[in-house]
Symmetry: C2
Subunit: 191 residues, 2 copies
DNA sequence: GCTTTTAGTTTCGACTCGAAACTACATAGA
DNA sequence: TCTATGTAGTTTCGAGTCGAAACTAAAAGC
């Protein structure tokens, strides 16, 4: 009773997703969308070209070009770092954020997601997270998770958090952002 | 308790998957892999450039170039159609099939899939299929499913099948292939 | 027979991609 | 302090993706 493999479903969904992103009214190549979306979701230690490269699993050279394209379109801004003259911080402009709200996720995906019940949606999300963490572990890739799901995340009290790595205090808003230093909890499988 | 959205997990997994495909020993761009994989899985009515374009959600112009690249690498072959002088049939060469076996799915994905239990894997597959069908319905995209899951598929007896659309007899091997005329069963949602 | 449709290719310009060379700044060591 | 060595980021190159539009050739419709 073999129908199609997990791999086939995922490749197919990802192709349809990419095609839809490109075809939107204010269309952007899928990589540019992904970079913009990341920059809108990451914390202040993870908004650099190097982080974007890591996140997108691309080289820094490739990412440099993608970021140039986004800047030329007025969708992101660059800011020099105060302490380190080499590093650049990136942030979506107002136009960039607006584009994200309008275009992501694309309509057919939104519709298909809505047709799934709440239970199925949650379950699918959980299974995909497991799969993703597995791939990251096997491929030696940084996990890039949301701060509050990190093993360094500490709860000091009501709405008072701290990062066990940098010892820094975190606001509730901080704790919802994506961090490049994110460490997944061990799952018993490997390591 | 918002962690990451379904969309985020899927984009992220698809980026990692594409990156891994490109980085393999006999690496190929992800689109070329997808085209080659499709041509190895489709039936004799679905092995044309037009079908590949439909399947990949790309234009025929784009696909024409991708197919040229695959042919130049000796991974696919072209055959003229006997009845219609316009149509071209495509098939993976021996080298093409061998490359598929070696490179697909990529190692980190294989590992992550293996870590999932059998139950989780089946469930994930089912949820992804539902999501995919939903996207195809909303986006007016052909479903491109495996023959035996088609609403035109008829069982005549033990190992004897027939296509209700072309009236043609089907072997068990035929029934496992991907068909561009595939029609999904209605699911009660839309139409 | 003539028009329209369909299958496929070609060309264009913007973009992706990795590799490698490069600039500029930071840091460690003698 | 001077000199590696390392790190952040950019540039350039060649192969490839991508859609749009122009194009060829064969079929189908009338």
């Amino acid at each position: 009773m073999e129908r199609a493999s997990l791999y086939e479903y995922l490749s197919r969904i990802s192709r349809l997703l990419m095609a839809e992103e490109r075809s939107g009214r204010e269309a952007l190549p899928a990589v540019q969308m992904a970079a913009l979306h990341y920059l809108n979701r990451c914390n202040r230690y993870s908004d650099t070209p190097a982080s974007v490269a890591d996140y997108l699993a691309a080289t820094k050279g490739t990412v440099s070009q993608t970021l140039r394209a986004l800047e030329n379109k007025g969708l992101i801004e660059r800011h020099a770092d105060a302490n380190d003259g080499r590093v650049v911080h990136l942030a979506p402009t107002r136009a960039g954020k607006q584009l994200l709200r309008a275009e992501i996720p694309p309509p057919a995906f939104r519709a298909a997601e809505a047709e799934l019940g709440n239970d199925d949606r949650d379950q699918l999300r959980e299974l995909l997270e497991t799969l993703l963490r597995g791939m990251q572990r096997s491929g030696q890739i940084s996990s890039f998770g949301v701060c509050r799901t990190c093993s360094h995340f500490r709860r000091l009290g009501e709405n008072r958090f701290q990062c066990g790595l940098t010892e820094e205090r975190l606001t509730p808003a901080d704790s919802e952002k994506i961090c490049r230093e994110h460490a997944a909890y061990a799952t018993g499988a490997n390591d």
